[in-house]
């Protein structure tokens, strides 16, 4: 087992250290396992699965502080990320839940949290708020205080975003009950005391309008969330687009937050945007039921407004195949043996991209034919309609 509370909570074989893989003998574990769950001969398999819908829940990865950045994560021992702190505070973690600092294994007396590391920073092209760092820092501050009530904790923040249910109350509690100090300002400089290995933070307390320098025993960087590494590849395979922050784009930010541009593919969790556990669960359930709804109805509703190809005009150039975002057109051989485009109506969304790009005008969008649009334009621009609009404007006093 990698560590207690690992997900999934299953034992694995450490191939590099297993005696069986080293010497070909041993196999003690196989004898002991009453469930016969161990098989040393298993190999990696690539499976082809035929599925009706796909839910993309590839999650996130955490930001790794810069090699030569301001926060000196790689240079100073006592600068750790929040994930490392999380392991230190975990009852089943390497220290059994005792908070120690890396340099001398002693319990730190003064701890500082630095917020917005790798989030809300245009310089490194991370403009978004990671949404979870404020709350996990507050939670961890509370846990530290519960373990070691004498610890002085300061949180260097820009804005505290405690927006969820009960979050604001927790924020108040750590200040009132636990006396955690909140310091509004982004640290400008960290420097290490060579002997004590404590770290001095210089920052402007922006509410006080004063520059302060304070020393801490342990610095915790509240690192933000990044899209997981393979996002681009999966996006390419499934025909999903990425939004500017690198996470998967949903079909509509307000009305279709779990759907994607590709039918039958749904998003859940941090693959779509950074979010906390309740939000991920909610989205996962939404994605699951959206997927189930299609699968159990047994039928798929499609857009009635598709496009048509006039075979007599089409020359089979294939431009529509390249342009279509849904992969609807395909090139086929007709009876005379000529290459022609055909639209797979089940895939077509009637967006009209192909109709607009067709050099032969062979494609028309149903209900949006040239005649229809032209007469609409004529009507809209005719003097009588102009007069009507003007009249309306005059009535409204524009």
């Amino acid at each position: 087992m990698p560590f207690p509370q690992a997900v999934p909570l299953k034992y694995t074989i450490d191939r590099e250290n297993c005696l069986h893989f080293k010497t070909g003998k041993c196999l003690l574990c196989v004898k002991e396992c009453t469930n016969k769950a161990i098989d040393h001969k298993m190999e990696d398999e690539v499976l082809d699965l035929k599925v009706g819908t796909i839910i993309v829940a590839t999650g996130f990865q955490t930001y790794v502080p810069m090699k030569k950045g301001v926060y000196k994560y790689w240079e100073y021992e006592n600068v750790i990320t929040a994930l490392e702190l999380e392991r230190l505070l975990n009852a089943s973690g390497p220290t059994g839940g005792h908070l120690i600092r890396p340099s001398d294994q002693k319990t730190p007396r003064r701890v500082a949290f630095i917020q917005c590391v790798g989030s809300r920073n245009k310089k490194i092209d991370r403009n978004y708020c990671s949404r979870v760092c404020c709350m996990y820092a507050i939670k961890n501050a509370q846990i530290i205080k519960e373990h070691e009530p004498d610890t002085e904790i300061t949180v260097y923040y820009n804005d505290i975003r405690a927006f969820g249910k009960g979050f604001e109350e927790l924020y108040h509690r750590v200040r009132e009950e636990f006396g955690v100090e909140f310091f509004r300002g982004r640290p400008a400089k960290l420097s290490e005391n060579r002997e004590t290995k404590s770290i001095m933070i210089r920052a402007e307390e922006t509410l006080l309008n004063k520059i302060t320098e304070r020393e801490f025993d342990l610095i915790v960087l509240s690192v933000g969330l990044l899209p997981s590494e393979g996002s681009k590849r999966i996006g390419k395979t499934l025909g999903l687009s990425l939004s500017s922050d690198g996470f998967f784009a949903e079909a509509h930010p307000k009305l279709r937050p779990v759907d994607t541009a590709t039918d039958g593919v749904f998003l859940a969790g941090c693959a779509q945007s950074p979010k906390d556990i309740p939000d991920s669960v909610a989205q996962a359930k939404a994605a699951a039921s959206s997927a189930a709804a299609i699968m159990f109805s047994g039928k798929v509703k499609i857009e009635p407004l598709t496009v048509e190809v006039d075979e007599s005009l089409c020359v089979g150039c294939g431009l529509c195949v390249e342009q279509c975002p849904y992969g609807a057109p395909e090139l086929i051989q007709n009876e005379e043996g000529r290459t022609r485009a055909r639209i797979i109506e089940a895939l077509c969304h009637g967006c009209g991209t192909c109709a607009a790009s067709c050099p032969q005008n062979a494609i028309t969008a149903k209900q949006f034919t040239d005649e229809q649009i032209c007469s609409e334009l004529v009507a809209a621009l005719s003097p009588s309609s102009q007069a009507r609009t003007n009249g309306k404007k005059a009535e409204e006093g524009v």
Partner: protein, 192 residues
């Protein structure tokens, strides 16, 4: 003034005269636009995180807070930016560390542009501009140094070269064309 007065009241009277409440009459909504015009881009997107103040070498020495100056610019509180325009060393550390990717040093430079146009011109600007027009250099040539140059086997400073007259004329023409001479008040030096 007695001991008690000095401890408890001194300075209070002056403070009473000062305006403590900023009302709308003090705000200049066009100030941010004016700053933008002179290259201080997007003052309005400031995060107010205070990183710029923290990294600023000047703000460690005197009462100068980069962040609050930008805040004053956002609001259009011109009078609070007056005293601090000329102490920025343009080291651009604030820009390098700014998470909002704005350039506070350029804002300071824009403020200087505005100051100069209001007639607030520190003497060193005039000196340097005069040197440029007279010698083609911002630093006044030094006879002593020229002697050392000759000892080292280097030629005369360009300025002492008779051919350099042509360059000086060109500089004068350019300075005059952009009306810089008038702006700084060195019309007498520029002969066109």
């Amino acid at each position: 003034m007695g001991e008690v007065e000095r401890t408890f009241i001194s300075g209070l009277k002056e403070e009473l005269v000062e305006e403590k409440v900023i009302d709308e009459s003090q705000l200049d909504p066009d100030f941010a636009k004016e700053i933008k015009k002179y290259g201080g881009k997007d003052v309005m997107t400031f995060l107010q995180c205070g990183n710029c103040t923290g990294v600023c070498p000047i703000s460690l020495k005197i009462d100068y807070k980069t962040r609050s100056i930008i805040k004053y610019c956002q609001f259009g509180l011109k009078k609070y930016t007056l005293g601090t325009r000329w102490v920025c060393a343009t080291c651009y550390r604030c820009y390098e560390h700014c998470p909002a990717d704005i350039n506070p040093a350029e804002v300071m430079i824009a403020l200087r542009h505005i100051a100069v146009r209001e007639g607030v011109i520190p003497p060193f600007i005039k000196v340097a501009a005069t040197n440029l027009v007279r010698y083609g250099q911002s630093v006044k040539p030094d006879e002593e140094i020229n002697k050392i140059r000759k000892e080292l086997g280097l030629g005369d400073i360009h300025t002492f070269n008779p051919d350099f007259k042509k360059v000086l004329r060109e500089i004068s023409v350019l300075v005059h064309a952009s009306k810089y001479d008038k702006l700084i008040g060195i019309e007498d030096e520029v002969k066109v």
